[in-house]
Amino acid sequence: MQNHILSIILFTPLIGALVLLFVPKENKDAVRWIANIFALGGFLVSLPLVPMFWAQRFDATQHFKFIEGTANNWIPSIGAGYTIGIDGISFLLIMLTTLLGWISILSSWTAIENRVKEYYVWFLILQTGMLGVFMALDFFLFFVFWEAMLVPMYLLIGIWGGPRKLYAAIKFFLYTLAGSVLMLLGILFLYFHHERVTHVFTFSIPELYKTAPQIYSDPAYGPTIATLLFFAFFFAFAIKVPMFPFHTWLPDAHVEAPTAGSVILAGVLLKMGTYGFIRFSLPFFPDVLTHGKVRGWMIALSIIGILYGALVSLMQKDMKKLVAYSSVSHLGFCTLGIFALTPLALSGSVLQQINHGISTGALFLIVGILYERRHTREIAEYGGISTVMPVYATITLIMFLSSMGLPLLNGFIGEYYIMLGTFMVSWRWAAWAVPGVVLAAAYLLWLYQRVFFGTVTNPKNEKLHDLTPREVLTFVPLLIMAFWIGLYPKPFLQILEQPATQIVQSVTNPQGASAGAMNAALLQQPETAQAEKGKN
């Protein structure tokens, strides 16, 4: 079990999709039940990973844990392998994916009435694709998952979406595809460069960690080529995140996507961009970031994203668009945390990615619930909802507070770590980011006031019924997580400590890190000191 836990987690949703193929599509309830069982199953099989990973959280002898498969075992002729493995960062993202995957499928029960079977099949395939991205330790495998997951998302928006679904779906697809093409070029460059240096063809990511950083100082290529390569990857990830100014596909995709699609899109898909930065851009191109202006540009784009996303969010008339732009702002914090290049900010960034998945995932569910009842997301259509749906109003308020970073809830911890970590590098960067927190309060509280406060002026809202038990159930895990991270973030931060430190070290101190690549034991943290001693 321990040896194959990752594969089990990875393929459970796919097996669910295969099983669904044999269920007659007329029997919608059977389809729903089976899909929900596999979705819950997908979450449950990931739970044993928690204690297993916890036991190894400080183990710095190997950066990646639970590794399955060896390099080049899949297509040996080109050096592609089915190699998967995780560190603390991918561990948390995988847990977020399995949780949100289950919640999204649960939330779709009444929302999807057409082509039910196809919907769940694609959703489960999407789930496997996303998990694969976070697990792959082979670039070929990574790229397969990365591209494979585009198709189901495209279909989810394009078939079950809103009135402009085709426009949004094609925009989403082409935009992300354009980024991926550049990344593919980048991957191939690294692949051939590795062969040139070592005379071995391989897509193995840990192997490429050893050679890719050398491109910068390689006389045959030099800083310009390394910088171009950085940007080849940058476009793929920046579009996915999305960083300003590559964000315009996001509001369109969100507005048209079905609720569950939005939850997954914001909760997980965007994290693939930040994950890419952390997993590839940082360790592959340390010199590009530590020399020259590239890092400054990254920081500037992050800060613009924080402020711009918040300001534009303030002005939206459509609730879903508002939440979508708030994602641009929140993800700006995440990229700021990444490019601040301190373990503190990087831990905060990953934690904030998880927080964003929880809070914004919940916000999309919240919008979806109103949409299902009234079939409009126009803020002006609402008002006084607190009176008719008090439970819903309370849960919404808690999630809004979590999203705006109120202490004792999850958002605060992530933002605080990011800003503190950034402040240690430059107080100016942090000072520019802090207004984002003020603006978050403004756009969320204003939204809350317009939707929930006041009297019910629209007669259509008078008869709205409060949450059903199923709907409450979708929020319970998210509420628990929001309070858990807010009140007791220590376990999460311990999980992130080792990978965050190693990745930052690999950038800021590549000489020290390059020899053992990512596997060198570099930690001098007090909490891990004991583990260190035991090992030596």
């Binding site: 534009v312 503190l344 240690m424 107080w427 003020v438 309060a441 204003w446 406060f453 006041g454």
Partner: protein, 652 residues
Amino acid sequence: MNPNLNPNLNLWVIPILPLAGAAINGFLGKKASRAGVTAVALFFSGAAFAWALLVAARFSSLSLPYHEFFAHWIRITGFSADFAFYLDQLSLVMLLVVTGVGFLIHVYSVGYMWDDPSYYRFFSYLNLFMFFMLTLVLAGNYLQMFIGWEGVGLASYLLIGFWFTKDSAASAGKKAFIVNRIGDFGFLIALFLLIKHFGSLNFDQVFGAVVPLPVETADAGLLTAIGILLMVGACGKSAQIPLYVWLPDAMEGPTPVSALIHAATMVTAGVYMVSRSHVIFERAPFALTVVAIIGTLTAFFAATIGIAQTDIKKVLAYSTISQLGYMFMACGVGAFSAGIFHLMTHAFFKGLLFLGAGSVIHAVGGEQDMRKMGGLKSFIPVTFGTMLIATLAIAGVPPLAGFWSKDEILWKAYQVSPVYWGIGVVTAFITSFYMFRLLFMTFFGDYRGAKVDAHGHSSHGHDAHGRGEPHESPMVMLVPLMILALLSLVGGFVGWGNHFENFLAPVFGTAEAVDSASHSTELLLMGVSVAVALFGWWLAYLLYCKRPELPQKIADSLGSLYQTVVHKYYIDELYAAVFVKPLIDGSMRILWQDVDRKIIDAAVNDAGDGAKHVSDEVRHMQSGNIRSYAGWISAGAGVVIALMIWMWTKAR
């Protein structure tokens, strides 16, 4: 100091009690009876007060400051912030004020809110506020203080917007939260600076590291920056210039909320925070000067606005801002214990004034406009009596509480600069004037309001008996008034012979001995303060009792100046025009409509369309039509030939 010497006080129980009350009423209150909700709310807030009294009883046996670790929260390499409690003389004073006044206001609210349909929700929020406020004052580090700081902001937001079906209430709550967040910007950055330079946010470690540092007299440095940033935070929470604008609007909340949160406790958090950080401020004279100037200006500025307000709660709101200004003036001149002294007496008399105002509003059926009151002293004698005491106290008439604390501040301010003292004395005169104006307009003369209608105030929660004339409040509201009146009467005597200052001396350091020459100056200044207080009283009497036609004439003769004051110097309008509108318009027109849609998104779509057009054209070339191909071939040949001829001519 060995913490093991101390008995375990279990301070954590004090905030947890009201939290439990908030949770019980929040989850179960909807289905429970009013009596049940009342019992829960009063039990848990009362128990917190009782526990605080127990702590006070054992206080003398403690070695201070007392520390109590509760749980881990944030641990980073080289920095940690735990849930930990800290008790010294300063936090004890705050603890007793918060739990004591808080409990009284809970009792009062039972009567005031009895008929509100969301009775349980009110008490749930009120208990939640107590939890956060106690977290704030008992915090052992800045980060926990920040939890309480944001938490009271949340409770304040919920309670200002308690009657959320009213748009003005909902907007006021939002405004309060956002303006406070602007202040938090400074607080947060100050915390980052503390972590960066001292590696800790624990009070002991920070202050231990700051004490050996030199005073930043010559040039402003790190401590000055931290001090000013902390003051930015304090300006938000304690409603000082330029962030005071949320507090008058906050009067949209139920009156007990105004008394508890927006007069007695939460708004004083900034004063507490600055006093708690006195070690930093004492080494940053420039930051102290900033505090003193902001405090002095706010005291004067808000008092002048108070003169022309006709809404009874708005007068008290501006008065609160003004009195908070006094407290900051005290901190700014280094007289932290005087500031805390005034904080305490202000909690008594301003809490009383608000509760009294609530009783008045209750009596006249929800009316808040003083022009429609008058002559109420015979209808509601107990309310009148207690409010008279509070008015005397705030006006600084000896020997009531406000006299002692205000005089202490003015005396300390005089020693630093007579300018502070001068503005302070003028403000004291204005204070006395607008407070007696309030008293005379409300309680004297003839009743100018309508007959009280049983259903005339359904939007407010207080009960109506359907009587035809103003009626006195029930005992459950009057008893807290009487207790607070007693405290306003005698509360100042703790300052007698510097008792209060000496009590706080372990925190703030001992006062320097005053020689007899300056002692006579002190007496002279004291005489001046008493004189201006009496003069303000007399003037208000003249204008609002003897010659009630005069104020209108004066107002008319002052013209635009008067209008400016009535409109609060148009500051709200100014902020709207300078900050809010450009922000909204800029986001809407420039960022959203132009940048996002017309530039970025249009570029994306153009790129897509461009690709489509190009491929469309290319597609047409491959039509399968021989003649078309022939045409392309000849065209291409033509181009090639032309090119060759051109190159050939050039080569020649």
